[in-house]
Symmetry: C3
Amino acid sequence: MSNVIALLTDFGLEDTYVGVMKGVILNIFSDARLVDISHSIRPQNVREGAFALMNSYSYFPEGTTFCVVIDPGVGSTRLPIAVKTDKYQFIAPDNGVLSYALSSINTDYQVVALENLDYQLSQVSNTFHGRDIFSPASAYLARGDVSITSFGQTLDKIFTFPTPQMSFSNNRLIGEVMHIDHFGNIITNIGQFRWMDDEHLKFDALWNSSIPPMTIDAQQANITIHSNTFHGISHAYHEAFRGEILVQIDSNGFLEIGANQEDAASRIDAQIGDKVMLKLVD
Amino acid sequence: MSNVIALLTDFGLEDTYVGVMKGVILNIFSDARLVDISHSIRPQNVREGAFALMNSYSYFPEGTTFCVVIDPGVGSTRLPIAVKTDKYQFIAPDNGVLSYALSSINTDYQVVALENLDYQLSQVSNTFHGRDIFSPASAYLARGDVSITSFGQTLDKIFTFPTPQMSFSNNRLIGEVMHIDHFGNIITNIGQFRWMDDEHLKFDALWNSSIPPMTIDAQQANITIHSNTFHGISHAYHEAFRGEILVQIDSNGFLEIGANQEDAASRIDAQIGDKVMLKLVD
Amino acid sequence: MSNVIALLTDFGLEDTYVGVMKGVILNIFSDARLVDISHSIRPQNVREGAFALMNSYSYFPEGTTFCVVIDPGVGSTRLPIAVKTDKYQFIAPDNGVLSYALSSINTDYQVVALENLDYQLSQVSNTFHGRDIFSPASAYLARGDVSITSFGQTLDKIFTFPTPQMSFSNNRLIGEVMHIDHFGNIITNIGQFRWMDDEHLKFDALWNSSIPPMTIDAQQANITIHSNTFHGISHAYHEAFRGEILVQIDSNGFLEIGANQEDAASRIDAQIGDKVMLKLVD
């Protein structure tokens, strides 16, 4: 077990929502070690939250409890759930926000509904289950003296939404923009890639198992977004001149369009969901 | 006692101000457990800070020390103070920022001025008492080995400002917008409400004791802001179509105007201070 | 030793970068006490990061490890380094980001390159050394059971960039805007000043040792930025009317142009790098 509770929400930091969740957690489990993954998921964007969780959870200590609250259905019938894998524990609404992370875990996991009122605040609002349900559940589960089955009935499956489209035909990998980061780097769902040597990349399709593994010649690849085509996949920002756009592999193995010390997304007006094509050499 | 020190300021997170405060606190009390309530109170908006503190403090563990720095009068004659209630401790400038929270506490409390130079940094600037006075005081008080009377003289009363206007006549409750949150939810000072059953709300005036308690029929209420009138009080966001504006009770019992997965404040151009009217059925 | 690890980056809080760094650190050193100095250094602005570090590090407990990642050269040949002074430890790229802080430390310090792969993640990306190199190094160094020389070869010197220009002639101190804070206060590199009594300031040049120490009459000084000249140096914001611009000494001893409860930088359209002149009395 770990006393780390990692928080991922769309609550922002302007309001007191995140602070209040931490107060609730510490009131139940005073030794909790609270870590913010991010609170800036775009409001109600469950899919962006799922992508963020998938790319971050595995760096946390074994036993970490993840409290994930991107919850457009708060107050409706969607269930709050707890999930226990061999290494981690997750508390979240059952709306798909865990599905990318869980799809990357090969072992079995246990799912229960958060139903037991003993592990919720005495007053449960219709608008802030982060405070009233998810924070208490995270604290009790991380504290380690409440078994997961105490929270409620076991569920056979969780809600999953379709993985982001990635297709392959005519030597073209087609995907889309998943995230634009603080620096203006454009991160796609085309991956995962790994450098084999200075010139070649190994590709293993993360999102579509019908696409075969491939070896790619980095200098022969062309990447197109909107009407812009970029030639070759670089190793690092400094291979481009300052301000020049380049394509590289991001720190999680996805194709990324960035610029050396500039904001690529502004330069080419990229948005989440835009199509991106990677044409391999014939 | 608790080793939790909860911070609420208008310092933002762009600068190093909050980080430096935490360094100062840990230098004095290495076991302090620091929690950010928020640092995004609108600059120098003491009233917004007071509202945020009132809605958050009671979720924290007993014994928590709150370090509240919204301080337009830094460097002037307004006193820095410490307040000890039966459950909590507060460090703040004496400018009213504690007054809403303290008005919700029914027991006696003790107030002292922060005068003893032994519990301040050796150099006190005129612009950053958060670092020089409030952080050290929070650390010494939370550490528990310095009695509150060691900080300075006992004060008979603290500065309080008028509570936000809420009036009642002709079956109309009139209040104002107190806060607009990260999601664009418009939170008013009309409250507090609590659902009695699916159709009825219990109202107990928080801000004006001359308004009698009432039972309200949720479907018969009309809410007006600017030239927009909305009918009925909903239970949760999902009762509206996506993008539709609805009125509900926020997680602290106040009337809130929101939208299902959209930004209500932008849609109707609401600002803090705008008048809101709740017309009850005749 | 202290278990405090203080983080200063330009990663922002919108993404999961900072959260992932914390996960990596806690995975290695579960008792680390993580403190955010700021993550809002302007992207790739090494000089702003250096200024922020210089103004904040000395408030942290002795033994604190600073993990400083403003790193436009990530993936290039610039070295990652560890620096140990008599009181603190620093982990950073060797790009000058430590140079202002180290220039204010009079004792010797030790510098090593971070080369030992045992103290890096097993996969090192080309874009996120904050996660792969700097976080692990901070965790191992703060944990205290890995000596600094285990990380790699000792370096004779670190990269330093020129200190910000400050010149003195004809009774005029000329400097520039270094930072604009959350409140719109305009902070210059003209300093450091310290009040001697109500009317006089002691000046000791921080950035240019050829400028002699001086005593300055606060009421006789004129400060010019763009075409605006302000008369006299005030003690605190409240000495000006609300909204009025005033010049004072910031909490780190630098000349600051601010406004009482307003945003001075917006009012006079100040930008980082703008020239500022302080004319002393003849």
